[in-house]
Symmetry: C2
Subunit: 336 residues, 2 copies
């Protein structure tokens, strides 16, 4: 495997470099051909890196950026006022060819706005989309858009479908079954937007479009790629995270409800713990921005080191498969 170089926004997320530096060190050990460029407040980053004296510094570089974009900062403000933010400097390294991908767990809206501004979209793409893999009964489903685009037309849903199918292929799912999220599976169901999009998808050559899917069908694993506008996708993802987290909490409560239940819980909880990990998809897999001239992976803001490592692994996979180039090829064939 040839060397891969990834820029890391080391200041993003709820825990910043304290969580990101250990994840990076661990990834360097896991992938001998990986090089990382950590972008952010260099003195802080260097002091954390110094805690790992055995790290191969020929594969870990620190680039200073004086500013940090806050998790609740308005994207427009981040775009206008912070020319030297860790996020922006990381994206500029990508634009200039110094790295092959950029990974950030920072402010999602700002990352999308800066990515569009710094990298630009691929020809034929109006709006980049955000995609992640959600666990289903039979494996995973790639859901997009997750919130980048809240007022979509049918032609945007078509672009998302094509991009989602290519991303699924890159992640090991050729001829992915693509479905449109709707309130029923019959042709007459749905709002204007999905009815128009269904027409477009039926006509998109080379796309394995299987029709409408409902919210429960998604979790039954009836499709590999599920397409919706960013408003619906964001609400589906966040409500699923909220429900999974509520169920985890309730399960723990069940096993503290009496002395006997506690005793059973000591045996049962270790078995249930790994389920909790599987059930928080966005925390544990990265999400990709598709449709940009470059590879940008978003890690969840509250991700710990394991979650951040998943995002780096996702970026590595996209570099190996040259995802933007493959997207560009398909967009030309299928949309233009």
């Amino acid at each position: 495997m040839s060397a891969s170089i990834i820029a890391i926004d080391a200041m993003g997320g709820d825990f910043g470099p304290h969580s990101i530096v250990p994840a990076c060190i661990s990834c360097l050990a896991e992938f001998p051909s990986l090089h990382l460029v950590l972008v952010g407040q260099s003195s802080l980053i260097e002091s954390l890196v110094a805690g790992y004296p055995s790290v191969d510094r020929s594969r870990l570089r620190v680039v200073h950026a004086a500013e940090v974009i806050a998790m609740d900062e308005r994207p427009a403000q981040a775009l206008r006022n912070k020319a030297d933010s860790s996020m922006r400097v990381g994206l500029e390294l990508l634009r200039d060819g110094a790295v092959q991908a950029c990974v950030s767990s920072g402010n999602t809206g700002a990352l999308m706005a800066l990515s569009r501004h710094v990298l630009k979209t691929l020809p034929g793409i109006d709006r980049p989309a955000m995609v992640t893999a959600i666990p289903t009964r039979t494996g995973f489903c790639h859901l997009l858009d997750l919130g980048a685009n809240v007022d979509c037309g049918a032609e945007h849903l078509q672009q998302f479908a094509v991009m989602g199918a290519v991303a699924a292929e890159v992640l090991g799912k050729p001829q992915a079954r693509v479905a449109l999220l709707n309130v029923g599976t019959e042709d007459i169901k749905g709002n204007q937007q999905v009815k128009l999009a269904a027409n477009l998808l039926q006509q998109t050559k080379g796309l394995n479009y299987i029709g409408f899917i409902e919210g429960d069908g998604l979790y039954r694993g009836e499709a590999d790629v599920v397409v919706c506008d960013g408003f619906v996708g964001n609400i589906l993802l966040k409500s699923s995270e909220g429900l999974a987290s509520m169920i985890s909490e309730r399960v723990e409560q069940v096993f503290t409800s009496s002395l006997l239940a506690k005793a059973i819980g000591i045996l049962a909880m270790p078995l249930l713990k790994r389920l909790q990990v599987e059930l928080a998809p966005a925390e544990h897999n990265g999400a990709s921005f598709l449709g940009l001239q470059g590879i940008v992976v978003k890690s969840h803001g509250s991700a710990g080191p394991e979650g951040f490592k998943s995002a780096i692994r996702r970026a590595l996979r996209e570099i190996e498969e040259d995802l933007p180039k493959r997207l560009y090829g398909h967009l030309g064939d299928q949309l233009l």
Copy 2:
């Protein structure tokens, strides 16, 4: 308590009268002042009722209806072609004042179309909405609309908000905190529809509007009433059902993965079973149609007798509180 009379569409749902008759018998025993009118194929219903010789037949009447609306029948077809369906006859009994509410576990789209046609909406209401109670970390949240209206304007969301608040009050939650479902909680977030609706809700007098809520905030219990259009609500509800059901399945798998796990499962599963019941809200609570000139409660199509009983209890509560009259009063004060 004075007598309450409810019409039951005995032919609806996945199991029809085989599930509905036992539920009805059990409700008659639970509520001494309840009277039921079972509508459907009388010979079949009578033969099932005959299995309960101790039932008080002065409180259980059977009304014959020759036709049944299939679960996958198009609403327009059900409306045009089936004048003698159990669903329609039940609604006509309600319209004519022979009963005070109608409960059905039949085809949702057909029930909505027939309810509008037979009962008509309250003055000021363009579109009835469907609401159910969803379990949250702190109790319940009343979510509407659940799929009756897939292309809503901001003024419809305002009507839903007012109706949802009244329904929550009737079910024991005065001064309910009302929120609009969105992809973020800041003012700038969201699509055009929710931004316009937020403006309207801020100006609605007497409404305890608390702003935007995200999908995870709903499950954290941050609001008592959550308002969205039927497209989004249906997808949130069905994906939540699908996820909860997937998690149940996975939990059971965890406890069959080895001999030791099976042994632990024998102890743990009984504790977890009641969680499964809590986590399938629509199967276990009824959903109400709000905004009609009459009380219509929808039970889940796959509900067993316990689920159907919950729907009857919900109808009883709405009769006691005279929900349509209270809605009418609030609509006049808050919307006109």
